[in-house]
């Protein structure tokens, strides 16, 4: 079985008096794809924020590949191997696609020399080549010099994903990567994720699209009101009574 790659134990988070996550524990095995699902407001994005360090935990621990990262500053977590995409995309509007990707590369170019190199003057610089290569693999290279604000939603969503993958991190957390995508785009996304899985990346995905979840993820954790109510394979979770109750009236089970 092996040791879990991401291990969340007794995780709790409160804002003021409001308890948002309660005693949450789950493990993600290396190289697997796990889905984090639950009705709106269940706390899924909050879990991402806790794991990536945007919020401090109120209680509990988070460990990555055996190392306790609970107190690690958010800035260092990408170095430790945790990268993420965002529910509302959060690309830098006034910058080009390429510039956004260059920012995403920071973790592999974080030395002082890297910071001060006049890299834009150097023809065919490695960083630009690498970013373009990632874009080519997704067929998005023609957007490289476009400003984010001028691009349609579907493209921006995929660029957000490409940015997250540039760090070549071991744990990739994707927050609703399929939201708002049409059928073709969703297929392309699935292919992209398959590619990442073949590279050995461990995925943790928040999603509402159950077809998508069942196609991509082998393991599912179900959240409701900040607590885990079920965990297991998609088939197991699909038939769980508590899960059906949580989703009653709001989703058809696939």
């Amino acid at each position: 079985m092996g040791a879990p790659f991401l291990s969340v134990k007794g995780l709790s988070k409160s804002f003021g008096g409001l308890s948002v996550i309660r005693d949450l524990s789950f493990d993600v095995m290396k190289g697997t794809s796990t889905a984090l699902i639950g009705p709106n407001g269940a706390g899924k994005t909050t879990v991402f924020n806790l794991v990536s360090g945007v919020y401090d935990v109120s209680a509990g621990s988070i460990a990555l590949d055996g190392t306790d990262v609970t107190a690690m500053p958010s800035r260092k977590r990408i170095q430790a191997g945790i990268a993420r995409s965002f529910q509302n995309i959060r690309l830098m509007q006034h910058l080009t696609v390429l510039d956004n990707l260059l920012v995403g590369q920071h973790v592999s170019a974080s030395g002082l020399v890297d910071l001060l190199q006049p890299f834009r003057l150097i023809p065919n610089h490695r960083w630009i080549r690498d970013a373009m290569q990632e874009l080519e693999e997704c067929g998005l290279q023609k957007y490289a010099h476009e400003r984010i604000s001028s691009l349609p939603y579907g493209i921006r969503k995929r660029i957000d994903l490409v940015r997250a993958t540039l760090a070549q991190s071991s744990l990739l957390m994707l927050d609703e990567p399929a939201a708002g995508l049409n059928a073709t785009e969703t297929e392309e996304l699935k292919l992209h994720l398959d590619l990442l899985k073949s590279r050995g990346v461990t995925l943790l995905v928040i999603e509402h699209d159950m077809h998508f979840v069942s196609a991509i993820c082998g393991h599912v954790v179900v959240l409701n009101f900040g607590e885990k109510i079920a965990e297991g394979s998609f088939a197991e979770v699909q038939t769980d009574a508590k899960v059906r109750e949580a989703y009653l009236g709001t989703e058809d089970a696939a």
């Binding site: 360090g53 920012v103 920071h106 023809p123």
Partner: protein, 280 residues
Amino acid sequence: MSGYHLGLLVLLSFNVIAAYAVYLPLAAGQLNLGIAGFMVVGAYAASYLNNEMGWPVAGAIACGGALAAAVALLVAIPILRTHGIYLALATFALGQVIAAIFLNLEVVGGASGYPVTAHIGAVAVVGTAVGVIAFMALLSTTRFALYLTAVKSDPLVSDLMGINIRFIKVAAFTLGAAVAGVGGGLYAHYFNYIEAQYFSVMLSVYTVLYVLLGGTQTVWGPLVGAVIFTLMPELLRASAQWRYALFAIFIILFMAARPQGLITAGVGGYLRKRFSREAV
């Protein structure tokens, strides 16, 4: 070149240097309303080293810049814990305190001003301005410049990408102060006289205003802003007060209609493609 035109070029050079001193922190989202304070430090330090201790002018001015940077570094760490308007106000207060301190420092003349012995010519001033422009243009091709914009655009994401936001902000602030200090030292040695009253908060305000007019999205914006601010009265043949009044109207209208300034990333992109090469 006539004396009049030369004088104009010198004035433009000083304004350009001041513009870039403000631009660096502003690109990272920090409004430095106390930039005049750092000019003051540079001016007095350079003059003192030259007058009293016989340092050569170039060395004294460089040291003035370094001293301004040191002061900035010292205050940056506490001040940059604040942000937004708190930061703007803190820098404003800092500028006032620095100017007030020098106004009372009898060893450098206090309120009656400080005469400076060594003189530098227009060539040195204009040359330095050109050097600053070149330096900024070079800096704009680095990751540091990219991260300034990133930190301003979305500090949360920048942090999650691993960028050390505190470092970037402190570096931008300190470097800006160094440039301001050098500008102050140049000013002191060109006009051979400093009075602390000149380096008032309004000087900082005017500088910030014309940098914002030019635009902070690209490295050419501050230059354009400085050019407009310097040449506008000449073109309008107006009195100093009318120049400021019209300039103020300009700013108000711009902030209402086009707050990103004249030179935006779109306009600058064309210039950048001419200036650098990117992989196809």
